[in-house]
């Protein structure tokens, strides 16, 4: 069997249903095999979009997303997508063509050192130099991408290997002496953690992306309900705990809720599950939860005690460890948290997430998000770009389900949202998929309107158009004396751009039109680009200035 065929047959055995990609000189043999393979191929209009689409597919399903590009520029165009997936632990396989083995290292046409370039932004990578190793390599790549702390794995496949012959034997399983993730918490550590939980009078759970990845939402809910411990979810953890639950505190950190940040600051015990104490969560480290003992559950030992010194480290899978904790808890030993709940309720009442609804005749972005949340009954898949749009989408849509909120958290990639939504829609054709974008970020992959149009996909694109690169503008307003350097945008007519691609576009300019427009958008059985002209200088509040303590917030404090 030829190498290209071995690749496709292996992908079929891994259950791959769809590949996002773009052809080129060094992958023609693969495309030739794809032509009649039972795998759907989605042609994006830029390789970066193929990587993000594979990422959106993976995040919205938990399956491994697959993208494919040619060598050289095709491969380097995938880089941002691979790095995005790596930062957010998304299982992905990126297959790149490579020049033929005899030319590697010769600066051949469209050659790039892909394994060199992707080394620090992928979980692992391979340059396949022997067709006989190909099937095993693919099996191992899928195993690595999807187990432990997931991540992107790159397979660089020279074009001559694609046309060489080998017997096809797909391995049953993989054994690696050098890779063996820990899935269950150490019983001794569980006991120590329980002791701290019993003693605590002011505990808080921080739930991160690990809850979503390990599908631990039910276990988290059970744990919280049994212990009555309030739960804050990070950006990556949104949907991992029902936001309509009374124990929910919203997001911690830079644009978190006042009550989450106050509760963390005053807590005597922090239980972080599947979250890595990112600087956007902790703010100034020495003022972060100064009174608290810390239990940290994570499948990746390097995340533990990296930024914050932890008292009880528990290496393991979030779902298993939460299950272990919940099972072993003796409810009679728990402290009464009545006073703590009362205190938190006080903060919630005094400083809820809010915005000025009446101070302007311009549409408020928060209003648009709230309206979308209301009309979709909180059930849509929301995919965001990066910046203000992302933060408003995280604050004002209420997420109750895992894999419902897709956003580039770690890398903060503008241009992620729209192509990721295409991947999410292909994986979830029955669900409403909505992109929340800014006028800046939507233009980073706007060519994908052609992909929407080609495959007749129904994705709603909400552009919160303020004519600025809003988040940077906000920092310039607050910390740089309103010197709006490089942040003012002269935009195209988004309605006409959409129409040029054969997609409907609408513009919404009046507050009174928000409700009816959202209704119209959602009723349409096809894609719509909606250009909401919003208050140009609206800010995201509350806000913890970079490097400041998280209880020192601007805005949102009553």
């Amino acid at each position: 069997m030829k190498g290209a065929k071995i690749l496709i047959e292996s992908l079929i055995r891994e259950g791959v249903e769809v590949i996002f990609g773009y052809p080129g000189g060094t992958v023609i043999p693969i495309f030739d095999c794809l032509y009649d393979a039972p795998i759907k191929f989605i042609l994006t209009r830029h390789e970066q979009a193929a990587a993000h689409a594979a990422d959106g597919y993976a995040r919205s399903t938990g399956k491994v997303g697959v993208c494919l590009s040619t060598s050289g520029p095709g491969a380097t165009n995938l880089i941002t997508g691979i790095a995005t997936a790596h930062m957010d632990s998304v299982p992905m396989i990126a297959i790149t063509g490579q020049v033929k083995t005899s030319l590697i290292g010769n600066d051949a046409f469209q050659e790039a050192d892909v394994t060199g370039v992707t080394r620090s932004i992928s979980k692992y990578n391979y340059l396949v130099k022997d067709v006989k190793a190909l099937a095993y390599t693919i099996k191992e790549a899928f195993y690595l991408a999807s187990t432990g702390r997931p991540g992107p794995v790159v397979i660089d496949l020279p074009v001559d290997i694609q046309i060489q012959d080998a017997d096809f034997n797909y391995p049953e399983k993989i054994e690696m002496r050098s890779y063996d993730p820990t899935y269950y918490g150490h019983p001794g550590q569980i006991k120590k953690a329980l002791k701290l939980i019993y003693e605590s009078k002011k505990p808080v759970v921080i739930a991160g992306g690990g809850i979503i990845i390990s599908e631990a939402h039910n276990e988290l809910l059970k744990f919280a309900e049994k212990t009555k411990i309030p739960v804050s979810a990070t950006l990556m953890g949104l949907g991992g705990f029902p936001s309509t639950n009374d124990l929910f505190l919203g997001m911690p950190g830079m644009h978190g809720t006042v009550y989450a940040n106050m509760a963390i600051t005053e807590s005597d015990l922090l239980i972080s599950v599947g979250s890595r104490f990112d600087d956007r969560v902790t703010g100034r480290l020495d003022a972060f939860a100064p009174e608290a003992k810390i239990i940290h559950v994570d499948i990746d030992p390097t995340s533990i005690s990296k930024n914050i010194k932890v008292d009880i480290p528990i290496v393991g899978d979030a779902k298993n460890v939460l299950g272990q904790l919940t099972e072993e808890i003796d409810e009679s030993k728990l402290s009464d948290l009545g006073k703590w709940h009362k205190k938190i309720d006080g903060w919630k009442k005094k400083s809820p997430l809010a915005y000025d609804k009446h101070g302007s005749n311009k549409i408020k972005p928060q209003h648009v998000i709230e309206e979308i949340c209301k009309q979709t009954e909180g059930k849509a898949i929301i995919v965001t770009e990066v910046g203000q749009n992302q933060m408003w989408a995280s604050q004002f849509y209420k997420y109750d389900y895992p894999r419902q909120f897709l956003s580039s958290g770690g890398l903060g990639t503008m241009g992620y949202g729209f192509p990721a939504a295409i991947g999410a829609k292909i994986a979830n054709p029955e669900k409403e998929v909505i992109v929340i974008a800014g006028d800046g970020s939507i233009q980073m992959n706007i060519q994908e309107l052609a992909t929407l149009s080609t495959y007749n996909l129904n994705v709603k694109i909400i552009i919160l158009n303020n004519g600025y690169l809003g988040m940077v503008r906000q920092w310039q307003e607050l910390f740089y004396d309103r010197r709006y350097a490089g942040t003012t945008l002269k935009n195209p007519d988004f309605v006409k751009v959409a129409e040029g691609y054969g997609i409907d576009g609408i513009r919404v300019e009046k507050i009174s039109d928000v409700e009816s427009s959202v209704k119209k958008i959602l009723l349409a059985k096809k894609s719509i680009v909606a250009d909401f002209r919003i208050e140009p200088e609206e800010n995201v509040f509350p806000m913890v200035p970079a490097g400041e303590a998280i209880n020192r917030m601007i805005g949102g404090m009553a």
């Binding site: 620090s120 050098s178 030992p301 010194k309």
Partner: protein, 157 residues
């Protein structure tokens, strides 16, 4: 503080690059690095001497190394009894004063004269760091023409 750690790794293409890349990407300082095959040809051993400001950074280095897919096990010699060695090759000017001094040093330290020419002595030194420091101090006063040394290797007792 200086720590000697060791990683047993899969003996395959690109592993050294992964380790080097990890250290540079995370800003860890390598003082020396020695790589070689072990008695098992599928396993290579990397002995790394690092400078870590505190325990936490040392812990991170060890954990990050362990996280690399090709690393089988990481050994930290910080709190263990171990023997370490590196190899120094050096040229010292040959004159009456140095000849006498070197003959004296050879009796006292593990120094081997590989070759003596009219111009210079070619010396091989193999010892632990403490003793090598002592030897180098003495040799410096004689005038070192050239000096090369390997990375340090270590083995637990």
């Amino acid at each position: 503080m200086r720590h000697t750690i060791q990683a047993l790794v899969e003996n395959r293409f690109g592993v050294l690059a992964r380790v080097a890349s990890l250290f540079s990407a995370r800003g860890y300082n390598i003082e020396s690095l020695a790589v070689g095959e072990t008695h098992d040809p599928t396993v290579s051993c990397m002995t790394i001497v690092v400078n870590a400001e505190d325990e936490r950074i040392l812990e991170q280095i060890k954990k990050q190394l362990n996280k690399l897919i090709d690393v089988i096990i990481v050994i930290d010699f910080t709190r263990r009894e171990y023997v370490d060695r590196d190899l120094i090759l050096t040229k010292i000017l040959n004159n009456d004063r140095n000849k006498k001094a070197i003959e004296g040093l050879v009796k006292k330290f593990p120094i081997k004269i590989i070759e003596e020419t009219k111009e210079d002595f070619l010396l091989e030194i193999c010892s632990d760091r403490h003793q090598e420091d002592e030897i180098l101090k003495q040799l410096k006063s004689l005038g070192i023409k050239e000096l090369v040394r390997t990375g340090r290797i270590a083995i637990g007792k």
